[in-house]
Amino acid sequence: MSTTPAPVPSTREAVIIGGNRIPFSRAGKKYVRTSNQDMFTAALEGLVARFGLQGERLGEVVGGAVLKHSKNFNLIRESVLGSSLSPTTPAYDVQQACATGLEAAIAVTNKIKLGQIESAIAGGTDTVSDAPIVVSDRLRAALLDANHAKTTGAKIKALLQVRPKDLAPATPSTGEPRTHLSMGEHQAITTAKWGITREAQDEIAYNSHQNLARAWEAGFFDDLVTPFKGLTRDDNLRPDTSPEKLAKLKPAFGMKLPDTATMTAGNSTPLTDGASAVLFASRAWAEERELPILAKFVDAETAAVDFVHGHEGLLMAPVAAVPRLLARNGLTLDDIDFFEIHEAFASTVLTTLAAWEDEEYCRTELGLDGAFGKVDRSKLNVNGSSLAAGHPFAATGGRIIATAAKLVAAKAAETGQPARALISVCAAGGLGAVALVESV
């Protein structure tokens, strides 16, 4: 493992102007029969309206959805065409499971830094309520055979292969293709390995709801969210939840493991619908239009872990990505003012922090000289995260970037000192994406 970071070539800055999302809604509630395209277009239009981008040709719009029907092959481009941006704005789709939104931001900011584009929007959308349903493999094979058959007789013969049980549809699941374990079960294994307690997880969940509720009350999201379909706030938010209420919930994952199950519906994120978008640009482009500059999107790193054979937990890739990112930028955990660690599960946050504090782990797995360090809990997800807001997979990156940019801007304005936020998002497939956002 190489420990010497490569020198970062100097490029120009990519700045964050602002973000917009629709309120996140628990699956099967407000956004039933609302498509990914509907939601992303709504998030996009809110952003366009906020910064007066009507008719503007942007450098690029990039985003994606994790649960996407093949008919939405150009989901983001179609959303652009349905928005009031100039139809000459190019777009493309990306997909990296829960890291989709953050990966989209990494892609567009790199282009801005290289001078290939001046402005861009990155984001994502996901719906569980309107998720595509897939036919069984046997039915699909029969339909394809029938489609390829040349004669009516051959078509009928192909269709006669279909058996009644083949008609059962396959709904999308959060199961890993190679292990057939759901994400929750995978995290339950990691949780058991690290001995994370139920109380510690419930505390993370409680704080998430408290912090998000406080941020809503304080008007933090007034310029980050556009109401949609009659919803003005994230409807998963439970300001009245308490440690006692959370402690009463039955375990939802890890019941088949030898260890006591600790993960509940309360300390795991619910399935959610929603969309988000963030506006990035070169400093010159923003200044020319007299648009506010909240922060710089400084740098990013992705990582992956070998979870298939249990060497590492499914959601632990950010643990490896963050030390590489900080080393490259000459920073340590102490230089970070805000930690935005995506709460896929409360225990994901806790196993991440535990790994960084573990000397042996950091030496053998991360190739560091000792423990990476301790995260100051008072800087962790200060305005709430996915446990309270919900987690529409591809939309989470955009939610976090906009929050982080606003937080560092406010802190820098208050102290007169530069402020930094670290963003960490874990994803299916043993993937992780992390990024560094800094005040201007």
């Binding site: 190679r178 292990t179 057939h180 374990l181 079960e185 294994i189 058991a192 390995k193 019941m255 088949k256 493991l257 030898p258 979870f307 298939v308 054979h309 249990g310 060497h311």
Partner: protein, 310 residues
């Protein structure tokens, strides 16, 4: 060595095996027939559809290299032909598959013409009867490419005088590790693998058939579970030449959820002394992968094996 013109049809062998099983009862010591079957030329070119069906069911990637599990299936009719002979003293039905050790010494590709051999050897004592090895070999251009040794138990039979005594040492203590995968095996699992492997033994394909042999429901083929583990490790990690072992414990009653831990041997805490390489039990192999299977949420151990590049 008895030459056969081609691989026999399994369906016919099973009919013979079922009919013959009733007559094979324990009497006197077990004497194996001194016979070895050989098919000099088996053209694998015709196996393309069979291979594709096997790969799809077990999760092997699409490839022209025949996985060890497929070579086991390919040679299985010849081994079965040995077992259904009138002078083979043990009944085809009711024998218990205890373990399997297979080695791929060089890759066998679809389209190659291969030689297949099978024989029975080494009848020896088991605490519940007699165990016997069925050996199957696949050769390409006269060179050994694959060897599989399947060990079966025939309960109540008596080992030949002078054979090694039964291993009476108590089974090692075992607690389930954390799983790396979870397999949901439906009630049709036995029929699906039966269709691909040709092993239509009724204990796997029907609940009624299983009841006749004392099982409450149909049981999964042990080789299905072992072949899935082999597929999961995959060609990139097992290499061109590899050893694949499995030891079976309690059968998997269908339908069932099986928790599986397929782990890099290097990640396992060394158990006491440095182990001898490759054994299906106790000691850990030097490299490769170790896999364990047990009933999800219970301590019922189903299987354990190793996959190791050679």
């Amino acid at each position: 060595m008895t030459e056969l013109a081609g691989l026999p049809k399994l369906g016919r062998l099973f009919t013979k095996g079922v009919a013959g099983s009733a007559g094979k009862r324990p009497r006197g010591e077990v004497r194996l027939p001194e016979v070895s079957y050989r098919v000099a030329r088996v053209d694998t070119a015709g196996e393309a559809a069979h291979l594709a069906a096997y790969q799809e069911l077990l999760g092997e990637p699409s490839s022209d290299v025949l996985p060890a599990g497929f070579l086991h299936v390919l040679a299985f009719p010849l081994a079965t032909a040995v077992m259904v002979r009138g002078d083979f003293p043990l009944p085809l039905l009711g024998m218990v598959h205890l373990r399997n050790v297979a080695r791929v010494l060089r890759p066998v590709r679809l389209g190659e013409t291969v030689e297949v051999r099978a024989w029975a050897q080494d009848a020896r004592a088991h605490r519940r009867g007699v165990q016997v090895d069925l050996v199957a070999e696949v050769l390409v251009d006269g060179d050994l490419a694959y060897q599989g040794v399947s060990t079966y138990l025939a309960k109540g039979f008596r080992a030949p005088d002078g054979a090694a005594p039964a291993d009476e040492s108590p089974r090692e203590e075992w607690t389930a590790p954390l799983p790396t995968a979870r397999w949901k095996l439906g009630s049709g699992t036995g029929r699906a693998y039966g269709a691909v492997s040709g092993d239509q033994n009724p204990i796997h394909t029907s609940n009624l058939g299983a009841k006749a042999f004392g099982f409450p429901r149909a049981i999964a083929h042990g080789m299905y579970t072992a072949a899935r583990a082999l597929a999961e490790v995959g060609p990139a990690r097992r290499g061109e030449a590899y050893e694949w072992t499995v030891e079976f414990f309690r059968p998997v009653l269908l339908p069932s959820t099986v928790d599986v831990a397929i782990r890099n041997a290097a990640d396992l805490v060394p158990a006491g002394s440095a182990g001898s390489a490759g054994s299906a039990g106790g000691n850990e192999p030097a490299g490769g992968f170790v896999y364990d299977g047990w009933r999800s949420g219970k301590g019922t151990r189903h299987f354990r094996g190793t996959i190791r590049p050679l």
